[in-house]
């Protein structure tokens, strides 16, 4: 387990996906089958082990350690498993453990055997493997290795495009020996059932107004988008799959979609959590997307629906060659036959020219609308979905706090928290934060902003600096959605600083009431 322990340490401290990929590919090189495939499966969640009960670990610690010493150690380290692993007596000539041994025996052991098994492993393992072992068994392996990232790492290993990995992935099972053998050039491409047609997830591209100049408007259909999570729903031959744009399988976290949708076929749509009035709850959706398994409370509190945009297969019949309006008609017919409270179809937007559609886009009704989604009727070039975002709103804000940016901006205080004025009910007013965004377009402005922060720091809170409220910025954002978690009562989507207004006085910033009005949201009571 030496390489696996080293990998999880490296992933813990990796600052970016690019660095993680490098460590993953290195791990494949340094570890052998079947351990490396098992390691990958454990990291992505494709494989899970029964979790080590805290009570078991506590009784083991009580047996082996003086309680006062252990308490002092735990106080400092903070993590029970880590404290046990580090404090465990060392010995010479430890032969170590293998992942296949641990994964195999732990799953099969009876409840009474677990303490002895664990103690034996801790006695047999050197320090680094003990730490890795306890992290594994206590389930602390959320290291940001999604199935999509894993496939990119495998693509890197075999120097092949990710699409090729995605094509065989559905048939691959841990420990992925045939897949790894193919990628290392030792074997042919793994066989998969060629009777299953592979429907690649339709790509999505954001376009600007001038991109449409080359297109004929009558070749397109358009709908309003509520900015949900773009997914492909595949319901065929008794099997359901829900796949994201990146190719991750998320069906397990959305039982209400998987269980309640009676229609057969392959569909594209967007997942949404809708509140009263059809307003999307972006925060709620994020929470659902982040949860690997979902509780009854979550299902009740954040119910998900799917807004269907396209149908790619009618039952088992591949209909991608049909023009979009025909596919839409088939989809409408199917839903009429089997209506569901979980799925709906957005109405098509009528338009006869781009300028007419643009006018619709600018005056888009409803606070939840994020923009328009366009689909070419005959998409032979595989263009996919074209997203035309609505015009961003603009609000004047004041810079309240700043911290250092990332990568090349790691030494510049350009990551700003901005806010607007709020009346405090006694005739005065104070600032309330509404979002965070990067300031300083180009090196001169970046330097000027950084200098401003350094020269006007009122207070420091760790890496965050409170700044004198004197600097105005123009903040653009796509939508504002209600959020009970924010002080302002709303959250801004995609906030970005368009302009730093060095010469405007801070009194010119907008108020929170004005922001609510701008975003089309009702004022909170």
């Amino acid at each position: 387990m030496k390489a696996f322990s080293a990998l999880i340490d490296a992933l813990t401290f990796a600052p970016s996906d690019a660095v993680k990929l490098r460590h993953l590919v290195d791990y494949f090189a340094r570890s052998a089958d079947p351990d490396r495939g098992l390691g990958l499966a454990l990291l992505t969640g494709a494989m899970t082990l029964p979790s080590l009960k805290p009570a078991l670990l506590r009784s083991l610690a009580a047996e082996r350690f003086d309680s006062a010493l252990f308490e002092s150690a735990l106080d400092y380290a903070g993590d029970f498993g880590e404290t046990v692993a580090l404090s465990w007596p060392d010995g010479a000539d430890r032969q170590g453990l293998t992942l296949s041994q641990v994964a195999g025996q732990w799953s099969k052991a009876g409840k009474a055997e677990l303490p002895g098994l664990l103690a034996g492993w801790l006695d047999a393992a050197p320090l680094d493997e003990r730490c890795g072992l306890l992290r594994l068994l206590t389930g602390k392996l959320r290291l940001g290795v999604s199935p999509a990232l894993a496939r990119r790492a495998l693509a890197g290993l075999g120097d092949r495009p990710v699409r090729e990995i995605e094509a065989v992935w559905p048939a691959m099972l841990p420990p992925y020996e045939s897949l790894l053998a193919w990628l290392e050039g030792r074997a042919a491409r793994p066989e998969f059932d060629r009777n299953i047609t592979f429907y690649p997830v339709i790509p999505n591209r954001v376009i600007m107004s001038n991109d449409l100049e080359d297109f004929d408007s009558y070749q397109f259909s358009a709908f309003f988008s509520l900015g949900g999570a773009r997914v492909q729903l595949s319901a065929q031959a008794g099997g359901f799959r829900l796949i994201t744009e990146e190719g991750d399988e998320i069906g397990a976290a959305f039982p209400e979609i998987m269980n309640e949708l009676p229609v057969d076929g392959v569909f594209e749509g967007e997942l949404l959590v809708l509140r009263n009035g059809g307003v999307p709850d972006a925060g709620g959706l994020q929470r659902r997307l982040a949860a690997k398994r979902v509780s009854a409370r979550m299902l009740g509190g954040h119910p998900v629906t799917i807004r269907l945009l396209d149908m790619l297969a009618d039952g088992v019949r591949d209909i991608r060659a049909l023009p979009f309006p025909d596919r839409r008609a088939l989809l409408e017919a199917r839903l009429r036959m089997a209506p569901s409270g979980r799925a709906d179809l957005p109405p098509m937007v009528e338009f006869s020219s781009w300028s007419e559609l643009d006018a619709v886009r600018r005056s888009a009704a409803g606070p939840g609308v994020s923009g328009l989604v366009l689909r070419r009727h005959a998409d032979h070039m595989g263009e996919g979905w074209l997203t035309w975002m609505r015009e961003p709103h603009r609000v004047s804000c004041i810079v309240m706090y700043a911290q250092c940016g990332t990568a090349e901006r790691a030494t510049y205080f350009t990551h700003a928290t901005v806010g607007v004025w709020q009346a405090d009910g006694e005739g005065g007013r104070h600032l309330v934060p509404v979002g965070k965004a990067e300031a300083g377009d180009g090196p001169e402005e970046r330097d000027r902003f950084d200098r401003f922060v350094r020269d006007n720091t009122l207070n420091r809170f760790g890496p965050v600096r409170e700044v004198a409220p004197q600097l105005l910025v123009e903040l653009a954002f796509d939508r504002a959605l209600p959020s009970s978690r924010r002080k302002a009562g709303l959250t801004l989507q995609a906030p970005r600083i368009k302009k730093v207004c060095w010469d405007r006085p801070p009194a010119g910033a907008d108020t929170l009431d004005e922001l609510y009005h701008l975003a089309g949201l009702p004022l909170p009571i």
Binding site: T12, G78, T411
Partner: protein
Amino acid sequence: MSPHPETWLRVEPKGLFVVPGGFHIDPASKADRAVVTHGHADHARPGNRAVMATPETLEVMRVRYGKRAAGSFEPAAYGEKRRIGDVDVTLMPAGHVLGSAQVVLEHRGSRVVVSGDYKRGADPTCAPFEPVTCDVFVTEATFGLPVFRHTDVAREIGRLLHSVSLFPERCHLIGAYSLGKSQRMIALLRQAGWDRPIYVHASLEPLCRLYAAFGVALGDVRPIEGQAKAGLAGEILIAPPTTGSDPWTRGLPEPVIVGASGWMRVRARARQRGVELPLVISDHADWDELLGTISEVGAPEVWVTHGREDALIRAVTLGGRRARALALLGRGGEDGEEGGGV
């Protein structure tokens, strides 16, 4: 009957005072006479009237404090017995940094050894710790918790070199204090076969030159200043600890921030420091080494100072020896927070 050390050693605000000798050990502020164990800023302060220490320690103090280092210097090599008042004083190697010493005190038949900061791990830059039997062993306890296990330094250097080969387009920036750790890192890298120039921050240069002057081979050590930063891809740099958000690091090719210290052993603390590659390389004894040294020295009584006393006292007591805390104030300056030591 020899007088028990608790009758002739006293804890004062300045630090440990040896009464029959009239001197302090590592006084925290100006004292009349001082015996200094090593050159780290929280042990070696400027402005004492008379200072006795190893020649290396005195030289470090001269380099750091210049004229105000001390009124007068009295060099004492390892093993040379000196008389101060009614006390025989001998400095013995402590293995912490170049010139670091334990202070052996003998007064009317009773012997006390003050360890200062020490370690038992391999270090090509200084003489290793030599255990000396005594009646009372006064030990540091920087890493006095069962979770502190330093393990094999050569393996940690191996991890660093593996990272360098894994990320050839980036530079590796090791955060290390200017006295001891940085020179040890350089020497360990040379031992592991790293022959390339090692680039150091300006604040590290004077002590690197001092080590070289005392015969420690560091190889090709160059200043970072004056280098084209973008050209440092694939190189190893050493500088005072930084989280990578200091302005002087601008322009460095995607630096891997390396932390080299005993604190890196605990994940939560390593994350706090903002490092990407934590290496467990320390200039202090770890838990096993503290207990092992106490056992090796064999003193019937142990006084614990400078760190986490409670756990160590308990472990020593469970092992059948007498132990108590010696509360000394003012430690933990140069070597980092949490009671000092790196």
